[in-house]
Amino acid sequence: MELLIDIVLLAILGIIAVAILWTRHLFVATMLSGAYSLTSAALLVALDAVDVAFTEAAVGAGISTVLMLGTLTLTRRREKATNRRVSIGPLLLVIVTGALLIYGTVDMPAFGDPNAPALLHVVPEYLAGTRDDIQIPNIVTAILASYRGFDTLGETAVIFTAGVGVLLLLGRRREEDEEAGTRRPEREA
């Protein structure tokens, strides 16, 4: 049953990805990318990653869709109508990269393998440590905030930098506009 859910959700993701490739309407593409995030959040629940699933649903399907809609109102709604021909260079690049990655999966442990090497080294220590030392039920929280606390600090630094970047990029414009008394270029239909 679990495997069936997994297969169906992955197939839906594939369909959405093709639709994103196909559409020329940026609003549609934005909505599809929100749907993509939400479907992958459902898949993450099926894969036991509940913490990741609700972060993905809130951030991937929520915030990033809102940000993109904001960008669309400031820019334009449609992609330029070029001919829909497939470009050979990028296609070749994608096929070669994909083939190399699939070649790489040959040596990987099977999906769901309980004896995968990744499970045998630090994971048992983290499980025992969370139970005995940290004493909170959620192991992911224990690792995120305690064992790997410095990673989370680094993450905060990245978000701060990005926030400062966005403010510098979009905040400066308003001052210039006010000084020069000019208006932003008019919106295209």
Binding site: D6, I7, L10, A17, V18, I20, L21, L26, A29, T30, S33, S37, L44, L47, D48, A49, D51, V52, T55, E56, V59, G60, I63, L67, M68, T71, T75, E79, T82, V86, G89, P90, V94, T97, G98, L101, I102, M108, A110, F111, G112, A118, V122, V123, Y126, N138, I139, V140, I143, L144, I159, T161, A162, G163, G165, V166, L169, R173, R184, P185
Partner: protein
């Protein structure tokens, strides 16, 4: 044969999804579309990592006091960080798109190239004068 496919099905589909995202990033000229492609690529990488952590018959890594098999929590922690960093880079990219649109009044790559080369030829002509 079926067993082999089922053992690698997740990885293979996720790689196909990654490549769909990469194709949008490389082949499409519209800057917003590129960022959407980047998001698809990124979400697929998350799925690849989480698939690697799944244990058959396992459950979410939350201690209940009972004896249970847990899926690997380390990929979950990594990907939680990656999602948040991903939204930060998306926001920065979209801010850049808005700025580019103000400077060039277009978000199509080829039109920006055109405007650039026009600028350059104008500069050269001015210098010669």
């Amino acid at each position: 044969m079926l067993e082999l496919i089922l053992a690698k099905y997740n990885y293979w589909i996720v790689i196909v999804l990654m490549m769909a995202g990469l194709y949008v990033v490389v082949a499409r000229g519209n800057l917003v579309k590129k960022i959407i492609g980047l998001n698809v690529f990124q979400t697929s990488v998350f799925l690849l990592y989480i698939s690697m952590g799944k244990v058959a018959g396992g459950t979410a890594p939350i201690l209940t006091g009972k004896d249970e098999v847990f899926s690997n929590p380390i990929p979950h922690v990594l990907i939680l960080t990656a999602i948040v960093v991903g939204i930060a880079t998306t926001a920065l990219g979209l801010a850049l798109v808005v700025r580019i649109r103000e400077a060039y009044s277009t978000i199509e790559e080829d039109e920006i190239d055109e405007a650039e080369s026009l600028d350059m030829t104008a500069d050269l002509a001015e210098r010669r004068r």
